[in-house]
Amino acid sequence: MQTRFSPEQLRDPAMQASEKILRTCVHCGFCTATCPTYLLLGDELDSPRGRIYLIKDMLENGRPATPQVVKHIDRCLSCLSCMTTCPSGVHYMHLVDHARSYIEATYERPWHDRLLRRVLGALLPHPTRFRFALLAAYFGRPLKPLLRPIPAIGARLAAMLDLAPSRIEPRSTMEGPAAFRPAAPRRARVALLSGCAQPVLKPSINDATIRLLNRLGVEVVLPKGEGCCGALVHHMGREHDSHAFAARNVEAWVREMDGEGLDAIVITASGCGTTIKDYGFMFRDDPAMAEKAARVSALAMDVTEFLAKLDLPATARATGHVVAYHSACSMQHGQKITDLPKTLLKAAGFVVKDVPEGHICCGSAGVYNILQPEIAGQLRERKVANIARTRPQVIATGNIGCIQQIGKGLADAGNPTPIVHTVELLDWAHGGPMPDALAEAGFADQPERAPAVAAE
């Protein structure tokens, strides 16, 4: 597409990168068809092509963002479905990230929007604060009917309470910093991202990962100093804060890489994986960090990518359950991991079903379900209905946000199908305990096929 940037504007590296992206777009319109918001709203302004045009105009003119532009950019889920569809290879993610930080720098949001974003940004990335907030939300739940009618902010506060789990999980006994050594001879050593919200909401995911990897002879370290990957504030356009989170992780992992060495940085939340794999780009113009960040990105792997590199033994128990595999957007569009998790589940004896319209987002998208509850709610209902069409016994996915979002949708629909992380099913099949969600749904545990695995 034709662009009109002045040489002076192009001296800014961020602008230069965006100009290059805009030049790649040929405005063919293919992206509109797979954009969740365009599907629901039918307005080109709420499609990738419309947003690209809004961003182009805003950046070219160097004007502060207007409320109209902000409205449509805010509605973008950053699901990146458009990037899978785009034949021209437009890097929409980097463009919309730039737009978000540009908005943050040039636009003053209404007070309630600012406040909510600040609260979310202050709570979610910090496990202790987040756990406390969930506790507060638990007691705040009866207030929901009073909150909802409050203009401007009521629906969002209600959505926040809706998403808070009805049960607060006890803290994991496997928290970091720590190193978990395998009983079997060590074949690899990896760092596992603890992250922020996931260990509070579902500590069972990383617990299962550690058990499974240990059983396969992999040492797992949770290094000191790592935490939130920064995605959460990154998607709010708060570049300074997201870079601070990212830098801390880079330092923590590089210490390990240069110390005892790492074969991979394993991530169990695909949303975080997409961001960590992009650290190299984030710090491309920072001479002190660029190389280290690129090394981290190169070593980052979704847990299913890492498992696929290992030669998994035969499973320890019979499975055979029908699993609907929900591919998180950050998994299929952000990281382009499509078949791996399904291949692993099939190899573990599960019968895997693809979800119809599987390329469309469930509406979770970080904190999108709190900031845009109406659109997120419609997408959630659509997703739960599509999942139900496969008549699964259990749903598996690779991202905590989707687990919470779809879990809420299932509960609303009175659908008792449990939803778990892919790695929880794999751990179970390979000799780990049955995931709690399955036990609660009344699944009978399968006996271990003994002697063969007794060797470990």
Binding site: M1, H27, C28, A33, G42, D43, E44, P87
Partner: protein
């Protein structure tokens, strides 16, 4: 680029903008009316991005009745209207004007009714082409015309342009697959044309509406014909050392009375571009590639393929490779159908759309190459070879005005060549603004006047999509006839 002119906007309309917007605001929900400058910008063009005009306002109605109300109001106020589907037109069919209201049908994207017993389906005009097939795929049916942009383009746009696609060689184009439409006339009158069955009584008005580029009315619903999916389908890749050999093979296959479902041509630049995107296993060591798809039972496919392969061998085919799996078939078609967009990875482009008699393929391929080279530009060729529908993609740098002019001139020379050899300016993309001024190479003024007289029966004031199809000068109106 500025070679193609737009009519000067009507100053009296521009000065009444606030009044017009207020009138529209009374007709649709606030979310369905776009008026801020920021937001209007996104509607200033379609897939012919070299040309852009800001519209007066954009309305996104949700029902036929809302469309009728908007048209009635615009008619009363004397305001031009430009209908828009998904905005994927390559000939500028949806590009607005400063004094026109854009009527976008993106919100009208539902399936209304499916009649398997009658093999029909009623849909809203803003539904995408592919969604129609997707809605009945599980039951073993599909909607046949498959323009390469079928993922995104709407059935309303397909009807406006009488779109084709790779598989139209066997199944016909849009006009052969539409049974009826609900259409809103320029004054807001809602009419039903055609019906739910294979033929409707009276004049074939539907034949007139399909391909009328939004100038006779705004289609809001369509009844389409759906077909049972074939038992099996198998695309086969044929690699040749020269484009002329491939072109001659196509002519010979058609000449032998064989009608494959699809016969698609790609030259070397196109093969490289598409392979990089789709990783479909296209041969990279050949100068020209034919994708020929046959369908039916295994025995039928084997028989047809044996004849096709024999002819291809007579024309020096170098590699023949059959798709071995559904995934491979999907990749082969994904690559072909993404050819235009994938070219965007390499350069800006304009995509031409001319048709020629298939017997002229070898000659035209050679001449096209000479034309583009004479301008110092590059071209990638992808096209529906079976029905002689060419899509040369002329590559250039849109930020370089001189190169942009050359690209347009080269494109015009190619289309004139198509007309010279007995073909047509447009196969399936429509005329839009892009080929408007070339219409005189195809038609005499008397021919054009007759077409405009027909057009005037529906819209004598030139309110609907007025800047398109007919050259701006010498326009026939009832008044010009009287004078």
């Amino acid at each position: 680029m500025s070679a193609i002119q737009f009519p000067a906007p009507d100053a009296s309309i521009l000065s009444r903008r606030a009044e017009i917007v207020a009138a529209l605001a009374r007709l649709v929900a606030p979310e369905s009316l776009v008026t801020s400058e920021d937001e209007l910008r996104a509607f200033e063009t379609d897939a012919l991005t070299a040309y852009r005009r800001m519209p007066l306002a954009v309305v996104l109605p949700s029902t036929t009745e809302e469309v009728a109300a908007v048209l009635r109001a615009c008619h009363a106020m004397g305001v031009n209207v430009v209908p828009r589907g998904a905005g994927t037109s390559l000939c500028g069919g949806a590009i607005p004007q400063e004094d026109a209201v854009v009527l976008g049908l993106g919100k009208m994207n539902r399936v209304l009714d499916v009649g398997f017993a009658d093999r029909t389906m009623r849909v809203q005009a803003g539904i995408t082409n592919l969604s129609i097939s997707a809605a009945v795929g599980a039951e073993g049916f599909f909607y046949a015309p498959d323009p390469s942009s079928q993922l995104a383009c709407t059935i309303g746009g397909n009807i406006a342009m009488n779109s084709g696609g790779a598989h139209c060689l066997k199944y016909g184009v849009t006009t052969n697959n539409i049974l009826g439409v609900r259409m809103v006339l320029v004054d807001g009158t809602i009419v039903d044309i055609g019906g739910d069955a294979m033929d409707a009584p009276g004049y074939d008005l539907l034949g007139l509406v399909v391909g009328s580029e939004g100038q006779l009315g705004v289609v809001t619903e369509a009844t389409v014909r759906i077909l049972p999916l074939a038992e099996g389908a198998r695309p086969v890749l044929f690699g040749f050392d020269t484009s002329e050999q491939a072109g001659a093979a196509v002519a010979a296959i058609i000449g032998a009375g064989i009608v494959p479902v699809a016969m698609e041509f790609m030259d070397k630049p196109a093969i490289e571009i598409c392979e990089a995107f789709a990783k479909a296993g296209y041969p990279l060591d050949v100068e020209a590639l034919l994708i020929i798809e046959v369908e039916g039972s295994d025995a039928e496919m084997d028989a047809a393929l044996a004849r096709i392969v024999a002819i291809a061998r007579e024309h020096g085919v170098r590699t023949v490779r059959e798709s071995k799996s559904a995934m491979e078939t999907a990749a082969i078609w994904k690559g072909r159908k993404s050819a235009f967009g994938a070219t965007g990875r390499v350069a800006d482009y304009i995509c031409m759309d001319g048709t020629i008699p298939t017997g002229q393929l070898p000659l035209v391929l050679r001449r096209m190459d000479e034309i583009v080279k004479s301008y110092g530009l590059r071209v990638a060729n992808v096209f529906h070879a079976g029905d002689g529908n060419l899509h040369p993609l002329i590559m250039y740098d849109v930020n370089d005005p001189e190169e942009a002019r050359k690209a347009e001139d080269a494109g015009n020379d190619i289309l004139k060549l198509c007309v010279e050899v007995g073909g047509c300016l447009t196969g399936e993309h429509g005329v839009g603004i892009e080929k408007r001024d070339l219409m005189r190479h195809q038609f005499t003024q008397a021919d054009l006047d007759q077409q405009m007289r027909v057009r005037a029966v529906f819209d004598h004031g030139w309110r609907l999509n007025p800047a398109k199809v007919f050259p701006l000068d010498g326009r026939w109106t009832p008044a010009s006839e009287a004078a």
